[in-house]
Each structure stands twice: as C-alpha cells, then as structure tokens.
C-alpha cells in the first residue's frame, strides 16, 4: 500500500530523511516513535506530499508521490490525515467540518453527505455534537471530529501525526479508543505517537526513528522485549520509566 524506496529529504542544509526504506501493507497498523526532531512527522507528511521529497521513490496506492505529474488531489482524497493540533475549520460546525470534503471533492449530494457525516460522528461518539462549533468542544472531542473528517472520505489509509500530544491526559483515551476501533476494522494506519500502551496493543509493527533514519522496525512483542539497537533501548528506557 505504501512503499518508501531510499527516500531522502532536506530542509535547506538539514538532512531530515536519510534513505528511508519501508513497506506498509494494506490493513497494517504501524506505530512510529522517536525523539522530537527525528523526522517521524516529516516521514508521514511526505506520504500525501504535504512535504515533497528530494530523492528516492515513494509509491502510495500504486501512485508515484515523488512524481510532480501525479494528480495529488486525487491521491490525497484517499488518505486521511489527523494533526496534533486538530486543525478543524473554526467557522463550521462539526457536521460541516466532516461533510465539506465529501461534498466538494467527492461531489456527493449534500443530503447524502450529511447522512454519512451523522453516521461517522455517531461512530466516534459525537452524535450529540453535530451542530457545535470547534470552540465549543473539548480537545478530545475536537480530535474525534478531525478523525471523523478523515473517515468521511472513506480513505484507504489514515495517517496520525501525534494525535494525542496536544490533549489533556483525561482525554487521551477517548481518542485512542476511536483509533483502536479503526485498527480492528482493518484500516491501514501509520501513527506517530509516544503512546506505547497503544503500540503494544494494536500495532502490527513498531518503528523507531532517530536523526532521520529508520533505526529499527519490529512487531511490538519483539520491539519492546528485545530492542536490537542501543539507541532504541536508550529511548525506550527514557519514555517507559514514567
């Protein structure tokens, strides 16, 4: 479904992705962790070309993301993206937030889109918040609207960029719960997160990134019990002790 073939990216002189090789199969849940500045956010942002790459090949759903001629709006419609800061549209209600893209991009009739939007918002536990504006919702509720916004496009892939990092602790679980349900349904997901409990529970594989390199990638049992690299061990000891 997603394949990185020796992908490099630079921000000016800064080499942020150094030869990434990675394959993610359809239905797989991959959790990416690593220290801040390790390039993990950049990695998932290249998948829908929020960040262009400078070298290598990146194939997503059979389309060449690295090729400037690839129609990106078409590919982006197939990839849901959830941001750390939610990035909801503040002038629209929850229902309007989730139906905008189906109506504009998928050309879905408004009534149909609203029926879909209500169904998906109910699925993330927000059936009673359809007509609230983002400012009236808690962080956890806003993030669930953001997930619903992605799901309303019936995406093939969902990408999560630190979806719980901006949330108060008591709201983290309601968001993770929605993501767990999604993983159980067989959605292809890449999740950048430090929620190692979530990784243990739902990830098929866990990857560790540092200094723009993919240091280690393994199933969670192996990844947590027998980390191969010293850097992974050091990182895990830092985040698992508290």
């Amino acid at each position: 479904m997603i394949e990185f073939r020796d992908v490099h990216k630079w921000f000016g002189d800064l080499h942020v992705l150094k030869g990434i090789r990675l394959r993610v199969a359809a239905g797989e849940v991959l959790v990416v962790c690593g220290p801040s500045g390790s390039g993990k956010s950049t990695l998932i942002r290249t998948i829908n070309r929020l960040e262009p790459i400078q070298k290598g090949e990146l194939i997503v759903d059979g389309m060449k993301v690295h090729d400037p001629r690839t129609p990106m709006t078409k590919l982006r419609a197939e990839i849901g993206f959830v941001f750390q800061q939610f990035n909801l549209y503040p002038h629209m209600t929850a229902l309007e937030n989730v139906t905008l893209a189906p109506i504009k991009v998928r050309r879905m009739p408004r009534r149909e889109a609203e029926a879909l939007g209500k169904e998906v918002l109910a699925k993330v536990g927000l059936a009673d918040k359809l007509h609230q504006y983002p400012a009236q919702l808690s962080g956890g509720q806003q993030q669930r609207v953001a997930i619903a916004r992605g799901l309303c496009m019936h995406p093939k892939i969902m990408l999560f960029d630190e979806p719980t990092s901006a949330l108060d602790p008591e709201m983290i679980n309601e968001v993770l719960e929605v993501m767990r349900a999604l993983a159980r349904e067989g959605m292809t997901m890449i999740v950048v997160t430090h929620e190692m409990g979530f990784a243990r529970e739902v990830a098929h594989r866990v990857a560790f990134m540092d200094y723009g390199e993919l240091i280690e990638i393994a199933p969670p049992e192996e990844f947590f019990a027998r980390p191969q690299s010293e850097r992974t061990r050091l990182f895990l000891s830092k985040i698992l002790t508290h």
């Binding site: 982006r76 993206f81 941001f83 504006y133």
Partner: protein
C-alpha cells in the same frame, strides 16, 4: 465665546451644508466601492506566486503608502491633463480616494487571508480540496469576518481624507466651510459645522464597527 457664535448664519447656509454632506457621502461611497475592488485585485496579485502579478501590486501598494494623499491628488489633478488625459474634478477626486484607499484595503485583506491558521490550510489540502475550493470554503469566509472591523476603520479614514478634495474645488463638507468663511468671514461657524457633520458620519461608521466586532465574536464561538 458661544454668545458670539452665530447660529442664524448656519441656519441660512443649511441647504448648502445639506448638499455638501450628500456630496461627501457619495464621493466617499464611490471611493470606498472603488477601493474595495482595487484592494481585492491588488491583494490577489500581491499574494500571487507569479512575479509579473506580484511585483506591480507590490510597487503600487508601497508607493501609495509611502506618499501623501495630497501629493497623489495633485499628481492626478495636474499630471493627468498634462499627459493628455482630460478628466473632470469629480473623476480625479474619486480616483484619488480609490487608488489611495485601495492600497490600504489590499493590505487589510492580505492580513485577513494570512490570519487564517496554516494548519487549517494543510487540513484542507490533505482532504484533497483544490486551491480555489480552499479559498472559497475556508479562507475567505473567515477573512471577511476578520477584515470587516479594520475595513470600517479604513472607511472612516477615507471619509476624513475626502476633505482634501476641497482643494481641487469639489463641493463637499470642507468646501462648505470654506465658502461660509469667505462669504461671511465666519471661520468658526463654517468649519465647526463641517466638523460636526463629519462627527455624525463617524459615529454611524463607528457603530457599524462595534456591531461587526460583536458579529465576529459570535462567529468564533457560535
């Protein structure tokens, strides 16, 4: 001081003030409409990626903002005819207000557009929305709310700036004061009456600004 103030002469000139108040209103309204159109166009060009659009707009905005309106007015009034373009005083007046205010409007609109959080644009990009769809559904609806109060502020400035049109002998509020002064030698009565009428326009626009700010707050909290 007030006992020497001649209200009778003001009453006598009231019809003149009435006509001139209307003239100020319509010159300002025309200038405002023109400056909105010019401001939108200049802003669209200014934020464009294409140098051929970007640079002319930047030069226009910078040169207007760095020179006095009076100089711009004289340039149009004396300059255009000498370049062989015959224009009436009214046209010159409206043109000067339009071009001057248009540059400020362009910057106000640009501020509104750029105040829309980049994260929202990324979210819209990620959903597959095109540039025009993002502008129409995400950026402009928010920019309108954000720019309304500063635009009304600019409208207030424009009304006051229209006083300069008296210098190219257009009939408007300040000119009415000049006429009363020169015919009856009563500058206090003449210009205070003009000032009072400017004040009344100001209060109407200010009330609109306050109302629009309240609307804006509603917009963001539902």
């Amino acid at each position: 001081m007030l006992e020497t103030f001649n209200f009778r002469v003001i009453l006598e000139y009231l019809p003149l003030y009435g006509t001139c108040l209307l003239a100020t209103l319509w010159l300002s309204a025309a200038g405002l409409a023109g400056s909105l159109a010019v401001g939108c166009a200049a802003c669209a060009m200014r934020i464009s990626r294409f140098p051929a659009l970007h640079w002319p707009a930047a030069v226009y905005i910078e040169s207007i903002r760095s020179t006095p309106l009076l100089a711009q007015l004289y340039f149009l009034y004396f300059g255009l005819p000498s370049l062989g373009v015959p224009v009436s005083e009214t046209t010159v007046g409206i043109l000067a207000l339009t071009l001057n205010s248009g540059a400020y409007m362009a910057e106000i609109i640009r501020g509104g557009i750029q105040s829309v959080a980049p994260g929202q644009i990324e979210a819209a990009v990620s959903s597959g929305l095109s540039y025009l769809q993002r502008m129409r559904s995400i950026v402009l609806p928010q920019a309108v709310g954000i720019t309304l109060p500063p635009m009304l502020g600019q409208a207030i400035v424009l009304v006051k700036d229209s006083a300069l049109l008296s210098l190219i002998s257009l009939m408007e509020l300040t000119r009415a004061g000049q006429i009363l002064t020169s015919e009856r030698f009563m500058p206090a009565e003449g210009f205070l009456t003009s000032a009072a009428l400017y004040l009344s326009i100001y209060y109407v626009l200010k009330a609109l600004t306050v109302w629009s700010r309240k609307r804006l707050i509603h917009l963001h909290t539902g």
